[in-house]
Amino acid sequence: MIDFAVFSITIIAVWSVLAISLHLQFGLTGLVNFGQVLPFAVGAYGTAFAAAHGLPAWAGAGIGVTLAPLLGLLVILPASRLAQDYWALVTLGAGEIFRLTMLNVPVIAGGDEGTSVYRFQNADLAMVLALTLLLVTLLFARRVGASPLGRMLRVLREDEVLAATLGRNPFRLQRMVTAASWVMAAAAGVLYAHVTGYISPSSFTVLETFVIWTAVVLGGPSTITGVLLGTVIVQLTSVSTRFVAQWSGLPSDLVANLRLGAYGLVLILVFLYRPQGLIPERKLRYDADRL
């Protein structure tokens, strides 16, 4: 039972980092990233690449964490100056292309069969590391959200033209946010690889992106507490799927499908009945006299 709790906390912490990364992009800046799984996969595959080619683990982490923001900047290049629809399409395409490359080029990290990587023998250590990473990203995101930069990102989210008239370059801000949040997601990917000990393309499909989206939309994309709450709810249902399958005697395939369907339903219902999420963003008021 303790083992399971430790494992759950580790997994929730890893996915919380992904959710905070999406919070910075979508909740704060308004970037609709439908390829959130891409930086996560890049981090994980940096590790897998290192393991498959006999490089040390820190090199793998380095590859993942450096490559992800660079890819992010590359992906945002065609999408800047365009409506959010296109950014969504391009990120979606980029994520799928990365997965297909890993699937079809076995030289990189084993192709369809995947690669085994070093797995943390000590589950407590994994949990502590995951929680540390979560704490760092949390503090960073809070810091950004409360800063003048965070205010400007919110302006950008609401009105790109307004941000430009205030003398800020919207694309520069978007690039900054993308690079920073993709580093976070890549770090989560590195950790995830070492927690599970095995990396294969099937763990990084479009559907994974929407598990993150479900958590973020459910909790409230514009608040950190919101995305954390959403992730806890979504990931608890996710890790308990195995037990539900055992307990109910239903085939695990069916239970997995029902879980995915539930996520879809949650996305729809939240938009219909509580579009701001469980924890909505409070309107910030500034008193000019007391500044």
Binding site: L100, L254, R259, G264, L267
Partner: protein, 295 residues
């Protein structure tokens, strides 16, 4: 070369029928509907069920599946999208993924994740040194007929005129007495039906599995982007262009250009061309738009 052209026609037929629906719904409601891909999968599964379990003749099964999927699309709109007309386009895109997940998991829960085949045995035909099957002929003929029918519907009937009016200026159309709600329902019906036909053709040519959505997702959205998102026949032409590019790249023996060994791009890489084409168009788009404005 002839083989490449034939393969191009077959693949663009399957993808094009699905893509026109995405463009049609984008032109009227202004959001990219990712649930559309699942309409194709649902349609294919309905056709399969009608054909294999209820022993309908295949043609009737596909037609019935198209009607039923059209109905599903109208229902989805009534339950979800019609109540979110004021939400931002990004919001609608996200919701459309919610619908997609729900439809996908329903199909997965009912039919399981293993793949199924219709088990047709089409006759093989040959022109010159190009091979194809009677099924391929049917696919291409159906695709062409579907496009002609859609063109007739949109450009030669009062319904089509109303629908196009709604797409170009919804407020004005409503003021002029066009029943917007009914027109939008009609549009969803067409989208669902076309997706179901396209999905069925796709499944007939290869196989049926819940992860079919991931296979058609990129080519369909790349075709629609190539056509300019809201242009219905642009999407069909986009499918044709994309399919040609893909089949050329896969079919041409690049190895023989440089050495005696034959080497061509493996088939699994066709989606790279889809995304590549999408990115190139997006990079060029601001310039294209500026030139059009200048003219």
């Amino acid at each position: 070369m002839l083989q490449i052209l034939i393969n191009t026609l077959i693949y663009s037929g399957e993808i094009g029928i699905i893509a026109v629906g995405v463009a049609l719904s984008y032109s009227v409601l202004r959001f990219a509907n990712f649930a559309h891909i699942q309409f194709a999968v649902v349609g294919a599964y309905l056709a399969f069920t009608l054909n294999q379990f209820l022993h309908c003749p295949l043609v009737l099964a596909v037609i019935l599946a198209a009607v039923l999927t059209g109905g599903i699309a109208v229902t989805v709109d009534a339950l979800v999208f019609s109540r979110l007309r004021d939400v931002t386009p990004e919001g609608k895109m996200i919701v459309s993924w919610g619908v997609a997940l729900l439809l996908r998991s329903t199909m997965g829960a009912i039919f399981g994740s293993s793949s199924r085949v219709f088990g047709l045995e089409p006759a093989s035909l040959q022109i010159g040194d190009a091979f194809f099957t009677s099924l391929d002929v049917v696919v291409v003929v159906v695709a062409i007929l579907a496009m002609i029918l859609l063109h007739f519907l949109l450009y030669s009937t009062r319904l089509g005129t109303a629908l196009r009016a709604l797409a170009s200026n919804a407020d004005l159309a409503a003021t002029r007495g066009i029943p917007a709600r009914r027109m939008v329902s009609l549009m969803w019906f067409i989208c669902g039906a076309y997706a179901a036909i396209g999905g069925s053709l796709f499944a007939l040519e290869s196989q049926l599995a819940p992860n079919m959505d991931l296979i058609i997702l990129l080519p369909v959205f790349a075709s629609v982007t190539l056509g300019g998102l809201s242009n219905v026949f642009g999407a069909a032409l986009g499918a044709l262009g994309l399919s040609l590019a893909q089949n050329l790249l896969i079919g041409v023996d690049f190895g023989s250009w440089f050495s005696a060994n034959s080497w061509s791009v493996p088939t699994q890489f066709r989606d790279f061309i889809a995304v590549g084409a999408m990115v190139i168009i997006l990079l060029l788009r601001p310039y294209l738009a500026r030139r059009r404005r200048a003219v």
